[in-house]
Amino acid sequence: MTPLATAALVAGYERDLPIIKGIDFTLAPGGFVAVLGPNGAGKSTFVKAIAGLVPVHSGALSLRGANVTGLAPHELLRRGLAFVPQTENIFATMTIRENLQLAAAVLPRPARAGRIGAMLEMFPDLAHRSGALAGGLSGGQRQMLAIARALLVKPQVLILDEPSAGLSPKAVGQVFETLVRINAAGTPILLVEQNVRAALKVAARAVILVDGRLRHDAPAAELAGDPEIGALFLGAGHGEGARA
């Protein structure tokens, strides 16, 4: 069953000002799709609309065949959609364990401790300081905690909004490695990225958004090898990267 699909999705912060202007999109089971495009194309708004953070004006959103258009973020999470925002994606005034406990609250009581344990095992960097305040973590560790928080509920779809923003190259590498592992274990991923080269390396498929509309939908390898696409939509700098 299709984990996530949008049909003629129109969305934006204000009623009379749609930023997403009608997008039909499907995420296949086990898929890993990168959402690319120039600045201001509406990449973030697209995934935020899916996550229930930006009002949907018209069109439909479905999760595993069920219509979930217009649900609030906490309801979408309970239906299997986990979203990692770009910034402020952890609770800085709480400990790492408390961050995970918050997420675990949606699970049945007996399952909670086990899932928290599993996440700490998966992210050993977090495990040995689980009592420390999350605000003290480095950028990369914060991103890992945010991913752990989202993954804890065993989502049917994991969506990330620019997880590489502001991270050191080494941390970016770690984050993307983790995403590949998660995807290999069966969780479909939708990823918004500015860092086109890195995104095309990990994603299986990429879609390009321009001015709130879907312009291209192709296997990542194909896009990575297309210099024209790189120059047109992804900015010269990134285009060179994509060509290389």
Partner: protein, 304 residues
């Protein structure tokens, strides 16, 4: 007067202020506006306790003797608990009718603050209409102060209030730090959008906050009514000390609000003895100004 006695009197007022300020600081940090109608929740709580206690008294034929060594009968604590539920319901009702709608419309903070100002006026005058502005009392019993160490004196009622306040504050603190709903409240206070993405139902948290804020306000109002008197303006007159305590402790911090309340209460007690009782009401304002000058995020607050 001796310093220990002034401290004790300050602690008594401070405990009441702190109790009221906990509700204020929680609604402030989670709903993100300064609720000028919070004082009226204290007043309504006090009057609701009075009415329910009156009903209980009428039902039992007013034959209950006071609980030794206190000045009141069993009717008051029972009425107080019922009134806490009623005050919580009142807070939920005001939210449903006013604040919730403004929130849903995305109104700016200041519009909501202004609405709370209007609500405060209406709620207070409503009590004046129902009960007139004549002071009321829970009991007519007179209590004799007991001798305590260090030359202090206090009535059994006063000591009971101090003990009860300490228990309630401890319970709220444990709830916030140790339970799921407490964590959820802290999460919404830090980042409502992320809280939603983490699976927290913000509307449910907001309901819990109003219930808690209303119930604690009722407890503070009832205790204040027992120790002093019940007037339609009692909560409004406490509003500035409540804000001072919440700001002093850092918005959102329960121990901070309690400590802030104690500081305000003790400063008021010293002001009364050193300058004069007529200046008591300005103490809250002076403290607010001092905190805003020195450390706007409060004693326990994080920088905004």
């Amino acid at each position: 007067m001796m310093i220990p006695q002034i401290l004790l009197e300050g602690a008594l007022t401070g405990a009441l202020i702190g109790l009221g300020a906990i509700g204020l600081t929680l609604t402030y940090s989670i709903l993100r506006f300064a609720n000028f109608a919070h004082g009226e929740l204290l007043t309504w709580g006090a009057y609701l306790s009075l009415s329910v206690a009156g009903l209980i008294g009428a039902a039992t034929g007013a034959s209950l003797p006071p609980i030794d060594p206190f000045s009141f009968t069993w009717a008051l604590p029972v009425a107080g608990l019922i009134a806490m539920l009623l005050t919580a319901a009142l807070a939920l009702a005001v939210d449903a009718a006013l604040f919730g709608r403004l929130r849903g419309r995305g109104a700016s903070t200041i519009i909501v603050v202004m609405a709370s100002f209007g609500a405060s006026m209406a709620l207070r005058s409503g009590l004046e209409f129902l009960y007139t502005s004549k002071p009321a009392y829970y009991t007519t019993e007179l209590q004799i102060a007991m001798r305590l160490p260090a030359g202090m004196r206090a009535t059994p009622d006063q000591l009971l209030m101090l003990g009860l306040t300490a228990l309630v504050v401890l319970a709220v603190h444990l709830m916030l730090t140790r339970t799921g709903i407490g964590r959820a409240m802290r999460a919404v206070s830090e980042n409502p959008a992320l809280a939603g993405l983490t699976g927290i139902d913000t509307r449910k948290v907001i309901r819990v906050v109003w219930i808690l804020g209303g119930a604690l306000a009722c407890a503070a109002g009832t205790m204040s009514g027992l120790l002093v008197q019940i007037r339609p303006y009692m909560g409004f007159d406490l509003l500035l000390p409540l804000f001072a305590a919440a700001i002093l402790g850092g918005i959102g911090s329960v121990p901070g609000a309690m400590l802030g309340g104690l500081i305000v209460g003790i400063c008021e007690a010293f002001a009364v003895h050193l300058i004069g009782a007529e200046w008591r009401a300005a103490v809250g304002f002076v403290l607010i100004i001092l905190v805003l000058l020195a450390r706007p995020s409060g004693l326990f607050g994080r920088a905004a």
